[in-house]
């Protein structure tokens, strides 16, 4: 037994001993490599920007989307970045837009190779409408009420108090993110890491509040908080890596319901309604991932095994807020919702031939919804009992994917690659229980000259199903001929060309891509039946001189789709032809004086989106909806003047014009049965002028040590 153990030990030790020289890196005599002239980073330096920006137009709240420039007026702003370095320790800080709702602060430090930490704070404003109006007033964060003088009516046009009761209500929210993280390397091979992130989002969103045949778009106060934790331990050598990690997500909604008064005439006792909002939830996941690299055939084996569990047990609201409805008792007070997830993956990449490489990948994802099923007796929109007994449906699925691909250099400048994939999906409680997606693709890459790179790729994907269970569709009251977009049989073929031209002795480079894809839903009688997609881009860059450059980019996208529907709940009797177009042109240049005294940068973007929908129906003949269009022009000039060794003067001019045509945005009383918020389509011109200074602290140029 002892001999066996010894032999076994030797078996393992022998290759490790042989590996040792490789691990300890090449044996190079560096005893004379004093690095005496090396100017290692020491001391403190920073640059701080301070300035004022004036926004010149009102009514352009969407310009403040992600920027913080919401309204007309002056904004003081501070930004900058800095670093302290010394004796292996380092502290970096960065501030962006301190005076705006889009402010960012980051602090990162530590001793490289030993430990590190970071603290971050970030705000992100989302600005949607400032033309919206409502008759509702908040009486608390989860209840909105009508004005005392409100007179309900059956149609919006008969609401006599409407115009006098409307008040402006901006729609948008603010997100704040705090991020705290650290890592520690107790040894050469180990690393421990932990990251905590808290996201808060508050503001006003739009919610459709139905009162059976009527509805009102409601301003809804949102107040979300999400805590996330990523932590783990990693072991890594130059042969293998192993990571054990934990991920936790904890979501809390301070307003789990919304109660509102209906502005429409209602039955006695049915003047108030309530809906549930996103419930609190949490999710935890443990994962083990690793990789091993063998020198034989340069093979890398990587795997991931993850197991997660999510829970949701928010107290349920009663069936109705209407005490006049004799609703039954709830089958449970809280859902006790639980979803288990499993994710496994294995990839093997290898180069069995000097000019050939293969890759095998397997992936399995599972969502196992273990939420208990109960029977429920719905009250329709807080007005009357449905009379039906309904059972909640916890959807689960399993998805597995096997991929095999390879690449071969067949000639010195020609690489050929090909691959195939099979994806299998199994679902519960849906029309399609089993679905397979088979895909195959091939690519030829030809680089005949050092400055010319051409790639042609093509492939096909067939999504097939075992059967479309029409009994499931019928049980849900769906037309049995409908084939849902994501469940239907589909055959997709596509081709792509990518070219890159970068002449060595020429200052101009050019890149272009063209993609064409054709989707056929051959077995669908209702639903999407055809779709065609074309995407193209062109990039041109011109290095005019060492200190100036120019670029021009263009992108085009076109998606056409044909959809069939049935208003008679039978075979198709109407069709809709969609055509989506989008074009983007961007151009700009950058210039600086050789000594850096003056710097100038100019960027311009124009985007045009257009959607047209042509309809044909047996009941109404041919019809065309107005085009939905959007046009965005934006330009920015940034300039700086290097006033003194430490001081720069800066100029930042922005211009944005955004115009949308959208027939769905209508005034509050346009739709007889829906009281909208009356938001108007975007149409604004806005400019912003910023003047500031940038002061540099600490060392500037780097000079070699004496």
């Amino acid at each position: 037994m002892h001999k066996q153990t010894t032999l076994f030990s030797r078996t393992l030790i022998a290759p490790l001993v042989l590996l040792a020289p490789a691990i300890s890196f090449a044996q190079v005599d560096t005893s004379d490599w004093k690095c005496e002239s090396c100017p290692f980073d020491q001391g403190y330096r920073a640059e701080v920007d301070a300035g004022v920006t004036y926004v010149g137009e009102d009514g352009a709240i969407r310009f403040g989307n992600a920027t913080g420039y919401d309204d007309k007026g002056a904004y003081a702003n501070v930004g900058g970045q800095g670093r302290y370095a010394g004796d292996g320790y380092r502290l970096d800080w960065m501030i962006e837009d301190l005076g705006l709702d889009s402010r960012v602060f980051e602090l990162e430090g530590g001793r490289q190779g030993t430990f590190g930490f970071r603290v971050g704070y970030r705000e992100l404003p989302y600005r949607r409408f400032d033309t919206s109006q409502t008759v509702f007033n908040p009486s608390s964060s989860d209840t909105i009420t009508l004005p005392g003088a409100w007179v309900p009516a059956g149609l919006t046009s008969n609401m006599t108090q409407l115009s006098s009761s409307l008040r402006k209500q901006n729609i948008g929210s603010d997100r704040q993110i705090i991020d705290i993280g650290a890592d520690w390397q107790p040894g050469a091979a180990f690393r421990l890491f932990a990251d905590f992130r808290r996201q808060n989002r508050d503001g006003i969103d739009i919610t459709g509040g139905s009162s059976f045949t009527q509805s009102a778009l409601l301003p809804r106060w949102i107040d979300y908080e999400t805590d996330q934790v990523d932590a783990g331990i990693q072991y890594g050598t130059n042969r293998a890596s192993l990571t054990l990690a934990y991920y936790g997500s904890y979501f809390t909604n301070q307003n789990p319901s919304l109660t509102w008064d209906t502005p429409f005439t209602s039955a006695p006792g049915a003047g108030q309604y309530r809906m549930a909002m996103a419930p609190d939830n949490d999710f935890q996941q443990v994962s083990l991932s690793g990789a091993y690299r063998a020198t034989m055939w340069d093979t890398v084996v990587a795997f991931t095994v993850a197991s997660g569990s999510g829970e949701q047990n928010e107290l349920l609201l009663p069936y109705t807020v209407n005490s006049g409805v004799a609703a039954s008792a709830l089958p449970r007070n809280a859902l006790d919702g639980k979803v288990d997830t499993a994710n496994y993956a294995l990839t093997v990449t290898s180069r069995p031939l000097p000019k050939g490489r293969v890759k095998f990948a397997y992936r399995f994802d599972e969502r196992d919804n273990k939420t208990p099923q109960s029977t429920w007796n719905r009250v329709i929109t807080d007005i009357f009992l449905s009379g039906d007994i309904e059972q909640n449906v916890p959807y689960s699925f399993e998805r597995s994917t096997i991929t095999l691909s390879g690449e071969l250099v067949v000639w010195k400048d020609i690489r050929v690659s090909a691959g195939g994939e099979r994806k299998e999906l199994k679902r519960d409680f849906q029309e399609v229980a089993e679905q397979t997606v088979d895909a195959g693709w091939g690519q030829v890459r030809w680089r005949p000259l050092t400055w010319l790179d051409l790639r042609v790729k093509g492939g096909a994907t067939e999504r097939d199903i075992d059967r479309y269970d029409e009994t499931v569709a019928i049980s849900l009251g769906q037309n049995p001929l409908m084939r849902k977009y994501n469940l239907a049989y589909r055959y997709r073929s596509y081709g792509e060309l990518i070219a890159s031209i970068t002449p060595v002795d020429w200052p101009v480079s050019l890149g272009t891509t063209v993609l064409y894809a054709d989707d056929r839903y051959n077995k669908s009688q209702l639903g999407i039946t055809d779709s065609e997609e074309v995407r193209a881009t062109v990039d041109v860059n011109w290095a005019i001189s060492e200190n100036s450059s120019l670029y021009l980019v263009y992108g085009h996208e076109n998606i056409d789709a044909l959809q069939l529907g049935s208003e008679q709940f039978g075979v198709w009797d109407w069709s809709a032809t969609h055509e989506d177009n989008f074009d983007h042109i961007g151009a700009g240049f950058h210039w600086s004086q050789p000594d850096g005294k003056y710097k100038l940068r100019f960027d311009f973007n124009r985007s045009d989106g257009e959607t047209s929908i042509d309809l044909f129906s047996l009941s109404g003949g041919e019809s065309r909806l107005p085009d939905l269009t959007s046009t965005l022009d934006s330009a920015r000039i940034e300039a700086s003047y290097h006033w003194t060794e430490r001081l720069d003067a800066t100029l930042d001019v922005r211009y944005e014009r955004f115009k949308v045509d959208d027939y769905t945005l209508v005034s509050p009383a346009t739709i007889p049965t829906v009281l909208t918020l009356g938001a108007q389509a975007y149409d604004y011109d806005v400019w912003a002028l910023g003047l500031g200074i940038r002061y540099h602290f600490g060392a500037g140029d780097i000079t070699l040590a004496d």
């Binding site: 090449a26 999510g310 992936r363 449906v393």
Partner: protein
């Protein structure tokens, strides 16, 4: 244990030993060959005799030039400039008049050094944090050089900053740049969101290099309110957010792939709630339709991500 069984087991272990030695052998040979090549006499001090401009020296403001970190190229006993640029003995040595100096390893797709060779230098040190995943990843398959994305001789690498990262990615991902310019998109063009928030760019075992295990898990990182599980689920939402949303940008509010009601009608044709063609008859000039205007289907069925209300089976509560 019978003797023949013992011999068979020993033979098995011997074979394992030989196999492991065979796997290890190339590494040993490579290391020995590496040691035999000619490095410069004084390391970086040799290089700086010629290369002393600000671009080169900026490396001293990066993580690659921290002498107290033994893993840094400028750490004690490390190979300094030659850790990345390869042995410089021949390059720094004497050359005959008119003869070109032997080139060093240079970085970038058009540098002249094969991409695989460049990346091997990077991966040699960054194996456990990036290199394992890199092998066979989409970027590796497309012969992307590490230096195509990373700028090394600058104090702050643009690809590591949220404000500037997307511009680097869009150099190749031009179709995504076009999409990012659509009227309804994540705040990427404003520099407030980066690509690596959703994608693990060095490679991963997930689809499309996603940062989390699935598309939905990635979306829930910022949109945890939709995770549920809800009492009444909307099956396509629970399965894949991308069934209805285009995360790179859309012509439609909410980054939807089509506009309601036609998006909804691509799956639903309900008995008693007919799937009517929402044409120009429903515009304000005709009989304004609650199924076409405002939020269309969502005027009533607002809870499309799922409802937790006992009366919410039709996603109206």
């Amino acid at each position: 244990m019978p003797t023949h069984k013992k011999h068979r087991r020993q033979r098995g272990l011997l074979l394992v030993t030989i196999a492991l030695m065979a796997i290890s052998a190339p590494a040993v040979v490579a290391a020995q060959e590496d040691a035999a090549v000619d490095y410069s006499k004084k390391g970086a001090d040799t290089c700086f005799q010629c290369h002393d401009d600000q671009t080169v020296l900026a490396v001293f403001r990066t993580k690659h030039a921290v002498p107290t970190d033994p893993n840094s190229p400028f750490g004690h006993g490390q190979l300094q400039c030659e850790a990345c640029h390869g042995p410089g003995g021949d390059h720094a040595g004497r050359v005959r008049r008119g003869q070109e100096r032997p080139p060093m390893v240079r970085f970038g797709s058009d540098s002249g050094t094969p991409v695989a060779e460049q990346n091997a230098y990077c991966i040699d040190c960054h194996l456990s944090d990036a290199g394992f995943a890199w092998h066979g990843s989409a970027h590796d398959n497309n012969t992307v050089a590490c230096a195509d994305c990373h700028t090394l001789h600058v104090e702050r690498d643009p690809v590591l900053s949220t404000a500037t990262q997307a511009d680097v990615c869009f150099d190749c991902h031009q179709q995504q740049r076009t999409q990012s310019m659509k009227p309804y998109a994540h705040p990427v063009r404003q520099g407030k969101m980066d690509c690596s928030g959703c994608h693990n760019t060095h490679g991963s075992t997930t689809d499309r290099l996603l940062a989390r295990a699935t598309t939905n898990d990635t979306c829930y990182d910022c949109h945890a309110e939709y995770r549920g599980p809800y009492l009444w689920e909307h099956a396509p939402a629970a399965e894949d957010c991308a069934n209805c949303h285009d995360p790179h940008g859309s012509n439609y509010p909410g980054m939807l792939s089509m506009r309601a009601p036609t998006l909804c009608q691509s799956c639903h044709s309900q008995d008693g709630h007919p799937s009517l063609p929402q044409d120009e008859r429903g515009l304000p000039g005709g009989i304004p339709s609650q199924y076409l205007l405002g939020q269309a289907c969502l005027n009533c069925h607002d809870q499309v991500h799922g409802s937790n209300h006992p009366s919410g089976s039709k996603l109206m509560r």
